[in-house]
Symmetry: C2
Subunit: 145 residues, 2 copies
DNA sequence: CACAACTAGATTGCACGCAACTTACTGGAG
DNA sequence: CTCCAGTAAGTTGCGTGCAATCTAGTTGTG
């Protein structure tokens, strides 16, 4: 009996890694004309949905730490899409707020997800089911420490 | 009727992006003692499975370009896990081969996937079904140019 | 042979992710 | 009030991903 290495194509992690990059590439070509990257777009999604947020809150929603968010937010700030300000209440906390420019991107990007979803070749119902299944797996993996 | 921004938690791409990072984090903590990263592990998987490969072949299997692979292979080479050599037949082509050290990692990592799969909370059958569904989506997205 | 079009890898530059560390501020115990 | 553990964000360093460019080797065409 030989020790069998697991096959690449059988690995759920590679499927996720590979699919994530393929879909992100789709977003990239649609976001590029707007000068926004996919992770930056995710931050904007949270801000559009939930309004002004702290860096920590963005980190919780996206599962990213300050090491990733700080420079990313700095770039969005210098692009004029948002502002950062220490709160008066607690000087450690930075509140991130959209500028009109950042708000305007909401309409400019509104049609992007539909096009990307179509590229998956799945109907909306199947897509939602798949998305929820993947989210459940991610939550389970994150919880299993 | 207002323009509604899509919700973060409804996006299939974010689910994939998030799940991919969560699972990769699992691999990271198991691979870290071996001094290997997850993308490096993927390269090793191909080499274990298919033997000596060209850089292009690795790129096709993993959907990575030379800009990513060249430095990654250089690090695996200086770690002593593989060798790179221009082929005599065509001097443009670089063939990547495992060293005994790279071969040895096969056994050292053999038990990792099982542990990670368990952390997903899905039984093997469901995991295979999910993996294939995701791979199909990725292939479809990649094909839709 | 000469030479242009093509190809395989490598290099450069930039934006993530993430670990490890630092800085600045807060709140509580004594 | 002091001190000190705790916390939020920023910084540093390294390894990807990926676009764009470069280099060297190959192939076809006259």
């Amino acid at each position: 009996m030989t020790t069998t290495a697991p096959l690449l194509d059988e690995q759920i992690c590679f499927a996720l890694y590979s699919a994530s990059r393929a879909l992100t590439a789709r977003y990239r070509e649609l976001l590029e004309p707007l000068g926004v990257t996919y992770p930056q777009y995710l931050v904007l999604l949270v801000l559009w949905e939930e309004g002004p947020s702290t860096v920590s809150h963005l980190g919780e929603r996206l599962h990213l730490d300050s090491g990733t968010l700080s420079p990313l937010l700095r770039r969005l700030e210098s692009a004029g899409h948002l502002t950062r300000a220490r709160t008066a209440d607690d000087e450690r906390v930075v509140e991130v707020s959209l500028t009109p420019s950042g708000d305007a991107l909401r309409e400019a990007t509104a049609s992007i997800p539909a096009g990307v979803c179509e590229a998956t070749g799945l109907d909306p119902a199947a897509l939602v089911a798949l998305q929820q299944q993947i989210a459940t797996v991610a939550a389970h993996v994150r919880a299993t420490l």
